[in-house]
Symmetry: C2
Subunit: 273 residues, 2 copies
Amino acid sequence: MKRSERLVAMTHYVLDRPRELISLPFLSENYKAAKSSISEDLGIVNKIFQQEGIGYLETVSGAAGGVKYIPAFSTSYSEQFVLELCRRLEDPERLLPGGYLFMSDLLGEPDTIRNIGRLLASAFADREIDAVMTVATKGIPLAYAVASYLNVPVVIVRRDPKVTEGSTVSINYVSGSTRKIQTMVLTKRSLREGSKVCIIDDFMKAGGTINGMKSLLKEFNAEVAGIGVLAEAEDEEEDRVIDDHVSLVQIMNVDDRKSKIEVHPGNFLKQTE
Amino acid sequence: MKRSERLVAMTHYVLDRPRELISLPFLSENYKAAKSSISEDLGIVNKIFQQEGIGYLETVSGAAGGVKYIPAFSTSYSEQFVLELCRRLEDPERLLPGGYLFMSDLLGEPDTIRNIGRLLASAFADREIDAVMTVATKGIPLAYAVASYLNVPVVIVRRDPKVTEGSTVSINYVSGSTRKIQTMVLTKRSLREGSKVCIIDDFMKAGGTINGMKSLLKEFNAEVAGIGVLAEAEDEEEDRVIDDHVSLVQIMNVDDRKSKIEVHPGNFLKQTE
């Protein structure tokens, strides 16, 4: 294979395997090239990934060394993407009764979901994470997008047990916004004890649902490794029970009667500054 | 930008935009290179994509011409992947009461989901498709995976309406396996009239749920452009109401008492032969 061809093949190979250690001897063997040539190739890939703002190659040295592709977004692209999200969400047509916001169209766009996933994953890039957890239904696509960039499995919590799932563990929790008692279930064999879990959801108001997932994790002796949400909203009547989260946007001053909302960047942009 | 650098950047660019027309003048402008050089580059990308079995570049000629990346899997890779799925699903530990099969672990693996999505998308690569539809909950990750390769939005049908969704259209349908009357709802603004829709689900027995989605599409004056499922199972008591689907695997001879199941390749492999 010529260098030009090898670069195309290797670019696809590393993009497909985020955070996975790809060893130099393997690449050398696979593409039938000297390790020194492969090293040069990886230098080019790394340079262009950084120029294009899609992440970088981390070098792992030693005998079993190689590279890991760490997905990320450049600060300027992150800002541009978050501001565009804010602009789209501020449309008063999205207001629903009760101060909720229609977001299903955005959450239905694979490239928007992928970019949100890449952003949230980059917020947790330096943490050890074994799985991503979310609760059905709307958080699911986001959770998969984050998981695909972290290269870990997804665990889905349900509101109701299903026959096709086997035995489950269930907990009751208090929903922050409606203050009702609700139930959450997770299939026993879907999460290993002691796992480090990143919780992802589309929307957070008082944080009751996320708090429920935290309680569920305790039942599995698992640990919270991070919490990420697309949008957070103020809840005037209830104190928030979650404060260690990352949010992309923040919904403020929802006025049902005047059909007005404000959407600002969440704490994600502040953290990367 | 040197050719070597351009190849890395362009490989990422086209991989990120399946089925989208990428014009030659745009690439030439963006990477500051003559159209003839860009054409040569695209030739290399196309050759390697085919060699690696991940699809090909379709050339669109004319003044507004360019290329489209069509994701696909080589036949040998498809076979290998489907046989591996069969082998993993045949584990008797997966048997649940009622002849159901535990699949949540597989459905939780982002790379497995991505490969299933790529396979199913390749089955519909030559059709005009505006959206992918599925029903909550377990079909959702598959639907997103297929949609990301078809580069179209996802529409999620629910079993229960939700306050954060706005006005909905609902239908009643008869579940094939349990013969109960069930309800399905879809938010009005989530699907445009006249859309061509690809239906995706994880599991099909008698086909009642998929038939329900077909009825729902009629309410939106939308068309079924294709039906794809990960697994189909025999239903001895009920005749199947769906027969124009693509399946990756087929579950047969489930024997609860003897803890035995057989999993064979579905009709997908036969179609690509």
